[in-house]
Amino acid sequence: MRMDKEKRRLWIGRAAAIAAALLLWHLAARAVGQRLLLVSPVDVAVRLGQLVFEKGFMASVLFSLSRIAAGFFLGLSAGILLAGLSAFFRGAELFLWPYLTAVKSVPVASFIIICLIWLDASSLSVFISFLMVFPVVYFNVLQGMKSTEKEMLQAAGLFRMPWRKRLFYLYLPQVEPFLLSACSTALGVAWKAGIAAEVIGIPDGSIGERLYEAKIYLNTPELLAWTVVIVILSVLFEKLFMGIMRAGFRLLKRR
């Protein structure tokens, strides 16, 4: 009951903060008085309303969504598998270390430009999203697996638990918070990097192409309307995926 009240208060506070930010934005746009430099939120909302009914809107959304999601799932799978391998084999961790450190530290724009030479523009966002997600998931899952208590491993050894059961009963609950946090971070990164790759690669029919065109024609309302679309897609995808993950973990532990 008390928790509900606190939650409600938090939501009301957040809504008020958003309203205040929109008001400030509107006032700043009016003060500047030039749509090209700073468009008001009302103009963005109007453009967004028109945009969703335009031919090609859903196609652009699906194009980018499918590629970024594919990159995310590839990065997630590779991160989990290789972190598992590294947790058990120190050699694998050492072998992977230079690649992962490079991926983590090289700016995403450099990767996009390098990859443009190797890949066609339409698959660029898949690869870039994968590249951004993979190290986040890898390092988090590896840290989770390494944090498994020595005492629990001793108990598993004494009771001669087979490796599949160790993975399920020992490592899964240990990795869960690390994996959830990694996914939450990685989803945001995947969208940002994926759209950046599209803006640079300009594949036909992508959200990135629409953003690029808006920039070329100095169409600020369109640019911000598409930005709002990206934020909404990113938040919805994150909420849906994280909800499924949490429910999956709950179900597994209820066995």
């Binding site: 001669r160 609950p173 532990k253």
Partner: protein, 206 residues
Amino acid sequence: MEDIRCEGIFKSFGGEAVFEDFSACFPAGRLSVIMGESGCGKTTLLNMLMGFEKPDRGKVLGVPEKKSAVFQEDRLFEAFRPLANLKAVLGKRFSDGRLKEELLKLGIGDGDLMKPVSDFSGGMKRRLAIARAVLYGGEALFLDEPFKGLDAETKEAAMDYVRCSAAGKTVILVTHDKREAELMRTGALVSMKKPASLLYKTGTAD
């Protein structure tokens, strides 16, 4: 089945000797007790017997390949329910009905079976750890203060459960409680003192 023996054990931590030329014999098929004040090395001795720690010098002999234990810190799979905890180590050796019966003997009823172990009280976790160790089987059973935190009634039930289920096995019980030691012991009594010097006597109770 042979006796479990420690011969000429030396063990120190950070330069402080905990065991100096320590020897003891825990007779096969009996319940032996290790007693002593806190920090005198009882759990270290148990860890050496279970193979988790190696003595600096000396030998541990006669420990069977398949053994079971109740650890000082429960070491349960807290995110999972009690039956899952048992099945994690027992596999499909027992039916759900049989496992429920065993838990009921220790006062864990149907109402508790739907909760994750993390929601259990300390006493319930202890009893679940006892059930897991006893049902796992093996020729030797190591019990590190297994009845700690249990109230009088559940303690009696847990002691009876261990006595009945572990009959014929080599059991080594670590405890502070003299009464517990007297009621349970059928084998050796090892009394330990701090620091470094170890007073021990061995022999069977009967």
